[in-house]
């Protein structure tokens, strides 16, 4: 029987295994060494690899992000730890104007093999600047790959692939899932980018969900199954590149689709995937494709308000019921 470990441990193992394999890898960020990050994801790494390779930086996100770009261009393979996804706004120039474009602007001469690990996810009562899910903003920029692990298994396999990739890769870990356990093999494995995982097969409706929304979709699918509605759950695993074919094949089979992601709904990941389904499976659809993202408001602090802003399994199940009944569902 496969052991079960937490997502946090899976990330830690992936980094340790890769750092043992390749001496050019180092990790930098705020409070990553002795503190092991506020979420303790990196605990123990500095003891094995020392402060030369697990580097505590000042609170200077643009500075250390920029340095990672320069290090990546000159033979190193840095892993950047960005303590909260919300801090992406601080590093946008270095990530989007520098890291993402260097290979292209140099006509393929310069490479930027770096990984930016950060997090996402609301409902931790952390208010508007520590709760955002900003994957759509990064996915919009050509030259960046974007991975969204949905469990400890994905977290490890995708991170190892990211570290070996010769391009800048941004990984969003849902901070509410760090203590969630999942079966993770002892032996080495990698998960390729651009290959979606069909988490559950179904006939009546396709639920395309990212990161922690995969759990939400699976719960909804359980509920729906008891009511005689068969839902297929697809986890794209990476949104850049996106495995369109698996999604389109599923929708052609089920004729209905709901796309669930925790980023803001407008101009978001759900909109992009819904548009591709509409373009490529339109004549197979029996209902409009539904987007379910986070409400288009800053994340509120009060639990009474915050819980209203994120997609829930009840909400997904209700939308699925309605489109399966032939009702028209308007986007929130």
């Amino acid at each position: 029987m496969t052991r079960e470990i937490t997502l946090s441990k899976a990330v830690n193992e992936a980094i340790a295994e890769e750092m043992r394999r390749d001496p050019t890898i180092f990790l930098l960020g705020e409070d990553v060494a002795e503190a092991g990050t506020p979420f303790k994801v990196l605990s123990g790494l500095v003891e094995e690899f020392g402060t030369e390779r697990i580097i505590d930086t000042p609170i200077s996100e643009p500075g250390f992000m920029g340095m990672a770009v320069g290090a990546a261009m000159t033979g190193s393979r840095p892993i950047v730890d960005l303590m909260f996804g919300d801090f992406l706004y601080l590093v946008m120039d270095q990530l989007c104007n520098q890291a993402a474009k260097t290979h292209y602007m140099s006509g393929g001469k310069l490479k930027v093999p770096l990984v930016l690990r950060t997090n996402m996810g609301a409902t931790r009562r952390s208010a508007a600047q520590h709760s955002q899910s900003l994957q759509a903003i990064v996915a919009h920029i050509p030259g960046l790959k974007v991975a969204m692990p949905s469990s400890a298994y994905e977290a490890k396999g995708l991170l190892k692939t990211a570290i070996r990739d010769d391009n800048p890769v941004v990984i969003f870990e849902d901070k509410l899932m760090y203590q969630d356990k999942a079966p993770v093999p002892e032996e080495e494995y990698l998960i390729p980018f651009g290959q979606a995982n069909i988490k559950r097969e179904g006939r009546d409706v396709t639920l395309v969900a990212t990161s922690s929304m995969v759990q939400v979709a699976e719960e909804a699918a359980e509920t729906l199954a008891r009511e005689g509605i068969s839902a297929e759950v697809i986890d794209p695993r990476t949104i850049v590149p996106l495995d369109e074919q698996t999604i389109i094949d599923s929708v052609r089979k089920t004729s209905r689709a709901i796309v669930i992601d925790e980023g803001h709904q407008s101009y978001g990941v759900t909109a992009e995937i819904a548009a591709r389904i509409s373009e490529k499976a339109f004549y197979h659809l029996d209902a409009p494709v539904i987007r379910m993202g986070a409400m288009d408001v800053p994340v509120p602090f009060s639990p009474a308000l915050e819980d209203l802003t994120v997609p829930t399994s009840e909400g997904v199940a209700e939308n699925a019921r309605r489109i399966c009944r032939g009702e028209l569902v308007h986007a929130a």
Partner: protein, 339 residues
């Protein structure tokens, strides 16, 4: 590129002279290409600042890295680039250093250690400092010089990376080319206090040097690069210099921010090429005729490279989605999940 040497000799002086003349010749041609509407977009002239790029790059080895700026042709030439690939890049041609994808503001020449020009003011300060971190971590001997202008000292990024460079004793030299103008604004109006003291506040040894004196720049840089290799970095140099043209080639009417008398004074009295040439003649290393012959040869080289680049083919349209990702031939197929 010559390796850093402890003592200069006639050969070194000749190289420095030639490299400065090459930059001036390149820029004169680039300006003509713009004025005759043969160049797409616009560009920023380095003319007047040649002693900075040449004095510094002649103190570096091929392995040493530089990061460059939007006013970067001088750095590129000084670090060893060829006219032909440079003009091809400026014109968006396939044979350009970046296959026409970068242009004037993003020209990069990896083979000679040029990590690229950068169109974000101050945008390469992190890259240069990270390259120095790479050298230290990987046990490599190379030094990185970060070129930037006085305008870039207003960017917060510089203070973040200087702090880390000083904390971790990184082999990086911050070379601030103070040409007196932050785009269309006098530097005095945008910079409070002293730039040198800003670096010194981080415990970084800082120097001010006449950026029109190629030998002074070269001597200082040679010394600091050597000290960087011994783990004594980082360093800061403020180089006082002047840009002959406007902020970019289209900035022709400049009376509202600086006088023609000021421009004439720098060109007549402090030109780095004229003055260095005179000193070579005074020291009887070369005759005036020999230097004129060198100037003419270089001008002919530039002319030939421009002619070549004008006739060179553009990249095939199929290249538009190449080089988005390393290891991926065509990004558009890849982004849709093609295997």
């Amino acid at each position: 590129m010559s390796a850093a040497r402890k003592k200069h000799n006639t050969e070194d002086y000749l190289r420095m002279y030639k490299q400065m003349v090459r930059i001036r010749a390149f820029e004169d041609k680039a300006n003509q290409l713009y004025l005759s509407a043969k160049m797409p977009g616009l560009t920023h002239m380095y003319s007047g600042q040649e002693a900075v790029a040449v004095g510094i790059c002649e103190a570096l080895t091929d392995e040493d890295r530089i990061t460059s700026t939007h006013r970067g042709h001088g750095h590129c030439v000084a670090k060893g680039a060829n006219f032909r690939e440079m003009f091809c890049e400026l014109l968006g041609k396939e044979e350009g250093y970046c296959r026409g994808k970068g242009g004037s503001m993003h020209i990069a020449d990896q083979a000679n250690g040029n990590l690229g020009a950068n169109a974000i003011v101050g945008g390469s300060m992190g890259i240069a400092t990270g390259a120095a971190l790479s050298a230290k971590r990987l046990g490599k001997d190379f030094v990185t010089v970060c070129f930037f202008g006085d305008g870039a000292t207003a960017q917060g990024l510089w203070y973040e990376v200087m702090n880390m460079a000083a904390l971790w004793k990184l082999p990086v030299i911050y070379a601030c080319e103070n040409n007196g103008y932050s785009e269309y604004t006098k530097t005095d109006e945008i910079a409070a206090g002293s730039l040198v003291k800003r670096a010194e506040a981080f415990g970084i040894e800082a120097f001010q040097v006449d950026g029109q004196d190629v030998l002074a720049v070269n001597e200082l840089t040679s010394r600091l690069a050597g000290r960087c290799r011994k783990g004594e970095g980082p360093f800061f140099i403020e180089l006082d210099t002047y840009r002959y043209h406007g902020h970019h080639v289209g900035d022709i009417n400049r009376d509202y921010y600086r006088t023609k008398e000021e421009e004439a004074e720098w060109k007549d009295i402090r030109d780095p090429i004229t003055n260095f040439g005179k000193s070579l003649i005074d020291q009887k290393m070369f005759t005036a005729e020999e230097l004129v012959a060198i100037d003419n040869d270089i001008a002919a080289d530039a002319e030939a490279a421009v002619d070549y680049a004008l006739k060179a083919p553009y990249p095939d349209g199929s290249e538009v989605d190449m080089h988005v990702f390393a290891g991926v031939d065509h990004a558009l197929d890849y982004l849709r999940g093609a295997r």
